[in-house]
Symmetry: C4
Subunit: 204 residues, 4 copies
């Protein structure tokens, strides 16, 4: 009964998170307005906006991907997990405005700083979510094994802090660091994938 | 058969409600426009808008959370429950415009009054939803036990009425009351959580 | 196997339809912009927009409700059903723009005509969807019994045609007819509810 | 266990894809703004925008439909499939802006070219998704049989390249080719439907 209940709860938590992330991914594109002219060259000013959109899309896709992998090993959730998850969604909901500001102003310090702060806040919120999940899972649970030392999460936090400092003097360095973090995360979370496969037996 | 049918119905009701709430939470962020300038200080005028967004995000998250907890103990739904739920979603759908108006005008009476009216309408709609659910559940059902006396719901209604009166002369007092109600609700509905755990046995 | 496959298909069709309708319901509210001023009286010009929004919200809710009831008795779907459903969603997707035009121009013929055309198109699309479903269900299937003579659907079609003619000379009469149709449909589809209950036995 | 896990994974991948496509379909309609005037004739300038919207709606519906049919024969997914799917969603997310540009500028080369590039990118992304799926399915799996030679996919790629060349000198020819491709795809993927039915036995 408890297991079924938790599956229902987890299912609805996932569905809600999916909904919010799917909408965030999509409304970012509303900031890409078609050019006033009608020649192909008029698209040129859109290029930096499009590239920043790609970066934000990848970042949100990484969060969806990691959230998805994390949830497959979650055995139960409670009120605090729900709220930690809401905190993560709130931080991610600031991505569209940070993206809209950075797009046309990618050479300025302010938008690079704001973008990094949103990324840092989301990373901290994700960390809090894992802490809240570990609190209600056994030390030898698949979740605990899967999360393990979380070097990627810690590395990201350090990288974002460095990027924020860099943003003040060299915004492009900050953006390069954001891209670097995305590349590191782009590989789906092997820790969890390994555990899943080990427990589930070889696919096939 | 009836039970299966009701699970299907309930599932789709939840999915639709989740979809609407997820979209409402997200489109509120569309009202946060990036500043015209590119220095970090240009974000300052966004601060009150961001704070009102936080309040509205928390309010919608509370409704999602309570709706989620409520639905876990629902055994059946009918046409009137569907429409009561639609009424709730309609009231919540006015949150984005109320938020967009209050954000930059948080010192004025009008927006504080409108924001409170939307909150009051949503609270009444939620109350009607519980009444419609109680109508088709036994007096000793998990739902009936879980809802119990609903002191929080009643307290909120009283608080909103007081806040509406306060808004006319002191908008900030009204906003303080809205925040206070959010804090009271922030704790997930222990009444229902307790029943769920009691019937389900200890987790694990 | 076929049954399971159809349940999966039906589930995803419902989920997609729910998603689209949930978004349509919600983005209509984006057309309600907060007033420029900050006094409560500044909301007055919003009143007609809000009332038209209520009507459109109810119309979309009716479609969701009827779609929901219809799907509970569907046993299988095929490609043509999928496309008939897409046709319905397309027609419904024109509700936001029709609503945005009618809101501030409720005394003019053009918007009342356009609004009615969208409603008529949606009603025809829903009718086509039921025809496509009946094609692949037995004459004594729960679906066929539930749809029956569909006097409401036919009445709506006639009412919309009358309303379109009325819109040319008296837009308010057309709007009154739209409201009348909504009231008739507001009661959830008893035909299907009756069949569902008969087959499922009394609830409880 | 692996099968259950994959069903869960597949389910959430489908739900996320459905969410994104449902939102894309719907936000395209935000670019259809109501006319400034209030006479029915004021809708005339909207006609080309509406027709381009119909084309884009059909294109996205085709992708949803094909994605839906494809997923019913998928037995497992992995990280690379998730990312190939994200790539497809990214390409599709550019449809609204391409639609918004082509709508009022359907006689110009630039928008026809941009629209075609988005369609080509989406077609390539879908092809990559099938390649990634085939990589982890047996040569005699239902998926492999269902995809088969994929002459429609190859034809589309060739057609889009031809259309892009045509767009430079004759945008209307390019648009005609886009419409032609849509018509070819409009029929749901019989390859997969046939396999599904064969394996599942006759419906009924």
């Amino acid at each position: 009964m408890a297991a079924i209940l938790d599956r229902v709860n987890r299912g609805r938590l996932e569905a809600f998170s999916d909904g919010v992330i799917a909408i965030l991914v999509t409304i970012m594109v509303l900031n890409l307005r078609p050019p006033a002219g009608d020649s192909f060259g008029d698209l040129r000013p859109l290029v930096p906006k499009l590239l920043v959109y790609v970066l934000s899309f990848v970042m949100l896709a990484i969060y969806w991907n990691n959230h998805h992998h994390l949830m497959t090993v979650v055995e139960r959730i409670d009120g605090r997990v729900l709220w930690a998850n809401m905190g993560l969604l709130f931080c991610l909901s600031l991505m569209p405005i940070a993206t809209a500001w950075l797009g046309p102003n990618w050479r300025a310090s302010g938008p690079a700083l704001a973008y990094g702060l949103v990324l840092l806040a989301a990373a901290i919120a994700y960390f809090i979510l894992t802490v809240q999940l570990l609190r209600i899972h056994a030390a030898d649970s698949r979740l605990a094994v899967a999360i393990g030392r979380d070097w990627k999460g810690r590395l990201s936090l350090v990288a974002y802090v460095v990027a924020l400092l860099a943003a003040i003097v060299a915004p492009l360095v900050a953006i390069a660091i954001y891209i670097g973090v995305a590349v590191v995360w782009l590989v789906p979370d092997r820790r969890i994938e390994r555990v899943t496969v080990d427990r589930a037996g070889p696919p096939g």
